[in-house]
């Protein structure tokens, strides 16, 4: 690991001023940044340790009924907060399906949003990668790419965003609260991550020095609590990134869908909100035929970026299954294997 300066600012303005200097990187839980530094993929000259900044580790209820989650709240603490899990069960389920207990105890809300892709060519510094080195080319194109993107990819980059947490968040209209040199601003999570286009190295809406201070969930997000699930297929039943995942949330009344939210993970460079599928669901009868049409709408624009055509059909099926699970109702207690389709739905067997 290359030598770096280490500073631990006491205030948010000090942190922003330090991180605005070229070559700086924030350190929160460190579970992604240190991994990248060990691999020589990231080599900051200055580490700005924000892990102890005050006031960023709180979960606050807002006057308008929304929720504000500080950027330094640990993934495990958020998922195990009983009131949080009750109001936003799909978010808790996504958090608990990610990484391992050890990593979730260290990983933070802000860091999870900003974790880098797990594209193996991005991780291998001997490979060409436009994201690591703009203009270098992309060895994933024509390479080992069965896990790469099927939506929103470009010839410059076909990588996916690996976060689980972000998938239900984007479905529930989460907003990222950012503080920078010019003050505070709010960006919806849907607009926060970028598609690759010609500039895959630009992954999000942050400018140098910008600090994520919180993630907000609007009041309406809790109205889906009774019928919300996250489903994640991976190459083993736990401790692996998603091949494809889906967050589904419904409000159903008299057999009709009154409100619907759907997002996919593992399919694109950003958490993928499936608005065309939501339009199919809205007002329709809550049944399998509707869910199948919604799944077709969600994947209508999908195309393989290599050996991954199977992902398109897999994603359709995961959408149907996530919607079916959501319709069946949120389990009282999360299943033993969160988000796993191999867990006996909806968790009843595991309730002692």
């Amino acid at each position: 690991m290359r030598d770096f300066d280490y500073i631990r600012p006491a205030t948010i303005p000090d942190a922003i001023a330090a991180a605005a200097e070229p070559g700086s990187a924030y350190l929160a839980g460190g579970t992604n940044l240190l991994d990248l530094m060990k691999g020589g993929i990231a080599s900051p000259e200055r580490i700005v340790d924000i892990s102890r900044l005050p006031e960023l580790n709180r979960i606050e209820r807002l006057d308008d009924g929304g929720l504000r989650i500080g950027a330094l709240v640990r993934n495990a603490d958020l998922a195990h907060d009983a009131a949080f899990a009750k109001a936003y069960p799909a978010v808790a389920e996504a958090l608990l399906s990610g990484a391992s207990a050890q990593l979730r105890n260290a990983a933070t809300v802000g860091g999870n949003l900003l974790q880098r892709t797990r594209c193996s060519y991005f991780y291998d510094t001997a490979s060409a990668c436009n994201k690591r080195e703009p203009g270098a080319g992309c060895d994933a194109l024509g390479g080992e790419n069965r896990l790469h993107a099927v939506l929103g990819w470009s010839d410059a980059c076909i990588a996916t965003h690996p976060s689980d947490f972000c998938v239900p968040l984007v479905a529930l209209d989460a907003v990222v609260e950012i503080e920078g040199k010019e003050g505070r601003r709010h960006v919806t999570l849907a607009e926060f991550h970028r598609l690759p286009g010609e500039t895959p190295q630009r992954e999000n809406a942050l400018e140098p020095g910008d600090l994520i201070v919180a993630v907000r969930l609007p009041a309406e997000a809790a109205s889906f609590a009774a019928n919300a699930r996250y489903l994640k297929v991976r190459e083993r039943t736990s401790y692996a990134f998603a091949v494809v995942s889906a967050a589904a949330a419904l409000v159903v009344d008299g057999g009709k869908i009154r409100a619907a939210r759907l997002a996919l993970g593992g399919v694109a460079a950003k958490p993928w909100r499936a608005r065309s599928a939501e339009a199919v669901l809205l007002g329709a009868d809550a049944n399998e035929a509707t869910f199948a049409s919604a799944a077709n709408a969600a994947l209508a624009d999908a195309s393989p970026s290599g050996d991954n055509a199977f992902k398109i059909e897999l994603a359709r099926r995961i959408v149907v299954r996530a919607l079916t699970s959501a319709l069946a109702g949120t389990p009282e207690r999360l299943p033993a294997l969160p988000a796993s389709p191999f867990s006996s739905a909806p968790g009843a067997r595991h309730d002692a």
């Binding site: 770096f4 691999g39 580490i47 340790d49 105890n105 033993a336």
Partner: protein, 165 residues
């Protein structure tokens, strides 16, 4: 960059140290303090061999900078037994053949202590398996480990009930 001063309490002992900011908690424990019970497997957060408790919570010490944990209370496998008397989790691992070559066992035991403290698994073997899935062992001692966790939890709960009575 020059070394930075930090203070850590490790297994109840206070250490004042000067560390290069690049040093991970894992390397500090093993290379500087000769606490080699904590193992280095992957060094990248993927195997759990380096699991320690920091302020009561299990983390991967390979992905933790020592400087970032200035002031923390760290528990490693060396601090788990009471003198010659094994911790109930250690005893249960032995009784149920929970370790084989023993390389991953320290991490498994620290992870089990974290799992029990988190109180999420109860007596459900499937929750225990999921809760310990961050600890990967090629000796395939998993079945014995689940038995050991069930027994240790039972013993610890009985001890707690006695203490409360």
């Amino acid at each position: 960059m020059t070394s930075l001063p930090i203070t850590l309490t490790i297994n109840g002992h206070r250490h004042e140290l000067e560390v290069d900011p690049r040093v991970t908690l894992l390397d500090l424990l093993r290379e500087r303090l000769d606490l080699t019970g904590t193992k280095k497997g992957c060094d990248r957060g993927q195997c759990g061999a380096c699991t320690v408790l920091v302020d009561g919570k299990r983390i991967n010490s390979c992905l933790a900078l020592a400087v970032s944990h200035d002031g923390a209370d760290v528990l490693t496998i060396e601090g788990v037994a009471h003198g010659e008397e094994l911790h109930p989790v250690q005893a249960a691992f032995i009784a149920h053949d929970g370790f084989q070559c023993g390389f991953c066992t320290p991490g498994q035991i620290m992870s089990t202590l974290g799992l029990i403290a988190e109180g999420q698994a109860g007596d459900d073997p499937e929750r225990i398996r999921e809760g310990l899935s961050g600890n990967i062992c090629r000796c395939a001692a998993y079945g014995g480990i689940v038995e050991a966790v069930l027994e240790a939890q039972e013993k610890l709960a009985t001890a707690d009930r006695r203490a409360a009575a």
